[in-house]
Every structure is written in C-alpha cells, then in structure tokens.
Point group: C2
Chain length 226, copies 2
Amino acid sequence: MAQQARAIRTRRVILESAAAVFAERGYERTTIGEILVRAGLTKGALYFHFASKEDLALGVLAAQMLDEPLTPQPVKLQELVDQGFLLAHRLQCDPLVRASVALALDSGAMGIDRAAPFRAWIDQVSEVLMAAKAQGELLVHVNVTDTAELFSGAFAGIQTMSQILCDRNDLTHRVLVLLRHVMPTICTPAVLIRLEMTESRARQLAVEYDANRLRHEENLTESARA
Amino acid sequence: MAQQARAIRTRRVILESAAAVFAERGYERTTIGEILVRAGLTKGALYFHFASKEDLALGVLAAQMLDEPLTPQPVKLQELVDQGFLLAHRLQCDPLVRASVALALDSGAMGIDRAAPFRAWIDQVSEVLMAAKAQGELLVHVNVTDTAELFSGAFAGIQTMSQILCDRNDLTHRVLVLLRHVMPTICTPAVLIRLEMTESRARQLAVEYDANRLRHEENLTESARA
C-alpha cells in the first residue's frame, strides 16, 4: 500500500515536471533530460512510469479528464453545466490541467495525436447530452454530435482567448456566457428554468473539488508514510 | 502606378513566404534568412517593406482582416453571419489567412502581442452588434461585449478543432452550427426568420469573394506591366 501510494506520487511529480517543461519549451524542443532535472529523479525512476517523451505527453493529456465523476444530478444538463465550471476552475488552478490543454492546442506538437483529446472531450459531452435526450430534456431538433462538437470547440477557443487576454481570470464568466447563449436553443423551457447557471454555483463546485483533492492528497501522504 | 503595383505584389510575396515559414517552423525558430530564401528576394527588398521579424509577424497577423468591407445588408446581423462564412472560406483557401490565425494562436510566439488579433476580432464583431442593436435587432438583455467575445473565442476554437480533426473541411458546417445555436438567444424572432444561415449562402459568398480577388490580382498584374 505504502509502495503504491509512493508510486502514485512519483508519477504525479513526473507529469507535473513534464507539464512545466512542455509549457516552457513547447513539445518539440523538450528533452527527457530536462524533465529528469526538473523532477529530481533518475532515468530508471522515470522509465519505470513512462517509456518515451510521447508517452509522457499522453500522460499529461490524460490529466485533464476528471479522476472522479461529478455528482449525478436529476437534470442531466446540470452535469454539463457543472463540467464546464469545473474545467474552468481546474484550468485556473492546476498547472497539469493547463499544460494538458496547452499541449492539445500546441500546433508545434507534431509527434502526438492532437485529435485524441478533442475526441475525448466530444465523447464526454455527447454522453451527457445523450442522457439528457433520453430524459426528454433536449428540444427535438438537437443533433447531439453537432452540439457536443460545438461545446468542445467553443470551450477550447474561449479558454485560449481568456488565457491570452487576462491569464484566465475571467474564464468562469466566459463559460457562463457560453452556457447562457447556447442552453436556451437546446433544452426545453421547463428544464431551462431548473438549470443553475450562476457564478455562485461555480464557486461552490470549486470549493468542493479543492476539498476533495486535498483529502485525496492527505490520504496518499499517510499511505506513503505507513 | 506600375511601381506601386509591383510594390504591392512584392509585399504579398514576402508575407506569403513569411507565413509559410512561420507555419512550418513556428514563430520563434523562424529566421529572416529563411524567409528571404523562400521569397527569392534580397535583404534590401525585404527591409524596404518590413523592419524586423516581429514586423513581418504583424503583417501576417493583419492579413486576416478583410481588405474590402462586406456588402452592407438591411439586416445588420446578416453581416455577422456573412463575416463568419467568409472567414471560414478564407481559412480554407488562403495560406496567408491560415498562417495569420495560426500565429495568433501559437503559444510559442512569445515575442508578439497575441492579444491584438483577438481584440481586433472582438472589435469587428462588436461594431456589427452595436449597429444591430441600434436597429432594434437584438433582444434587450444582450450585452454586446460578452456576445462579441463569445463569437470571437468560440470561432477561434471551432476552427482549431476543425483543423485538427479534418483539415478544416467541415468548417462551414461548424460555423453554421455555432450561428444556429447562438442567434436565437440574441436576436428578435422577426429578425431571426429573415436571417439567411445556410450552406448555399456560404457558397455564394465564397464564389463572389474569389471572383473579386481574381479581378483584383489581374488589375495588379496589368498595372505592374504598364
């Protein structure tokens, strides 16, 4: 157990170091040597977890997906809203998530499959939309694929713009603006009035997420000591 | 006149060469020497038009803005629709416009002000929205800045996704999806039913744009010969 906890922490240190170097130098110019120096680890320790630079990039890319699913909501579209708020928060606070999205959008990252993260985002949104459709929450004309791709592409662009204009300080507001512009055209009025699309909902989710994550880290530290 | 026409053509050749090299090597690693080789010009000819690599990047960035304004429309929001269709077409066909947008979104382009192109897009959209508002086309709750920023950011992300997933082949469709999801929440029903948001409108605009541009090139060639 202690060994497993230590391995999880080492893996996280490697990914955070890789993320930092990718962010500074871009994918192409990053070397494994630089990541080793940053992580303060030996080659052996790194290669135990990751076989190559590409493998490291895939690890960083995967970091944007949530480890734990969101709390299920009676209105499925609320889960879509919550996902948006939470990703905004994680982009603001977690360097690994930031690096993950930057890597997916880095036009210089020739060696890696940049379509994969977009497909993963689209799948995640589609899944919620399908569930919402099954519950009769969507207007009949909605094409789930089109709408899922719109949300994914629009979110990617909005977070890039927010990053460039103000270091993502207004990202929650921009996500709210996106949701308020799109939700009324995809869901029924009866669902629309039940959706909680507010800054305070976003703040509450962020606080819960941070508390969960802290608890998780503490558990890992305890286990590693044991 | 002949001299002026030749200067305009030389400037275009330089910008296209710079765009091609930026696209291949990224902004940071591009050297003026490489651009000279690509353009087949002397240092003197290039420095007559552009003082530095940064200046070249600004020239490329400016290329995404339309040289000539769109045909004014009785319904102002139709101009916004048309702008979206036309930018999609130019991104599909004009390497210079493609390079311009890539440069604005290139996280490795540290030396240049990447906020400027976003501000220019936002201003352009705001201007049309303000005119639409003055004509009573917008619903009363619309915040012009929020909506202009949403369109700019969402468009940037949608074109990135389209590029990564299918080399921008479906960009017109994606722009249509964006418009159809957002227009109903910002404009009055009476305006909404008058908006032409169709693939055939997009095709017609593309044909007209190409014809105009060809005529413009031919005039330049004539003048340069005179």
